[in-house]
């Protein structure tokens, strides 16, 4: 009975990827950074769902979509607890947790408007650091830290 009700909350997909265990308050940021608003595939999402591990979680299901590592790096930065589940013909074919990379290049923007990466044609480069448990991007050029709430991706 319980399982059935859970199924109904967010529809199953035949082929594609499920992003599970997204912190509930990060769901919309993940949707934004993956640019899902522009997707022409079936996309389902839910948030504030019950989770045994995390209390409340968000989930996204995207049909016919499998992610590249540059995309999973972005997910890891805002939702480090996320799990990626690949589905083929209704079966789970692969289940991975996202890994926070040590460095990221090109995919994120520096929040400092006076940084050389925002003024000249210079690709961004960051070290990923953790301060008091929060992930931040330390800019290789201007040495300023971009916090999670300021992260904008290319």
């Amino acid at each position: 009975m319980n399982n059935k009700r859970k199924e109904l909350i967010v529809s199953a997909i035949s082929n594609g990827t499920v992003i599970d265990h997204i912190p509930a308050n990060k769901l919309f940021q993940v949707i934004r950074i993956l640019d899902l608003e522009k997707s022409d595939k079936e996309v389902y999402f839910g948030t504030n769902l019950e989770s045994k591990k995390y209390g409340r979680k968000g989930i996204i299901k995207i049909s016919e979509k499998y992610f590249e590592s540059s995309e999973t790096d972005k997910i890891a930065l805002v939702a480090p607890t996320a799990t990626l589940i690949e589905i083929k013909d209704y079966e789970v074919t692969k289940k991975t947790t996202v890994n926070i990379p040590d460095t990221i290049e090109r995919i994120a923007k520096c929040f400092n408007p006076n940084c050389v990466t925002n003024k000249e044609q210079v690709p961004t480069k960051f070290k990923v650091i953790k301060i008091n448990g929060e992930i931040k991007l330390a800019c290789h050029y201007c040495e300023k830290n971009t916090s999670q709430s300021n992260m904008v991706f290319n």
Partner: protein
Amino acid sequence: MKNRSLISINDYSKEEIMQVLELAAEFEKKPHQNLLHGRVIASLFFEPSTRTRLSFESAIQKLGGNVIGFSSAATSSVQKGESLKDTILTVCNYSDLIVMRHPVDGSARFASEVASVPIINAGDGANQHPTQCLLDLYSIKKTQGTLENLEVTFVGDLKYGRTVHSLVIALCHFNTKFHLVSPVELKLPSAVKRHIKEANLQYEQYTDFSEVIPKSDIIYMTRIQRERFPDPLEYEKVKNAYILDNGMLDYARENCKILHPLPRVNEISTNVDDNPKAYYFEQALNGVYVRQALIAAILGLK
């Protein structure tokens, strides 16, 4: 250090910092040495400066070298829309070393990645100013006889002052005790305080200036800039709160010295200038020796 750019004070280890300071002491004893004969140093100041540019050019000329360059972006091809990369690649063809100041944060690091000659960062926006930091360290060592175990007080704009950030980070090598005096709006950023914490050193923050004077071996004054305040009223409230007057130094330690990266506006009363504790003009002179030392070390001439 040979052939390596100096972009951020973090690029140098404690040992390398000490090497530069020792070499600077040699140049102080003998400033005129013909080490740079036939060498060309480019001095690219995309943003105006008095002390930094002139002390670099003085350092180069005392070493017998030649200087080429410009003292504002207005007199370079930047005005025609040339990119920083193109300017740097061009100047590399004409020089053995580039000294550069630029208003954009991170511009010096980027320049060092495209340049075929070493770059010395003479200030990149609000980010780093490592040669100022080295001359500050030299001034502290010279006046106190050591860099170890001192109590250093920073006063004024600790939020935006790049010289403050670099010096605090560098002093973390030397078991310093930090006293940080500023209005609440201009406190030292947490990213800089993290360095103090990681080094397991102590710091205290104050909004009142007078109580820390008797505890200080060095008082490092900075200018509070009007343009840092979104609300002009806020600036008016704090602008006169951190002015050092000669009378306040009655309770200072015997060995205490006053430093200031200059330019000064009104944060040090002119009646302090004749006090033997005032050291800011000698501090500016030390910049020449430190820059001679850096140029000689980076070009492998010492």
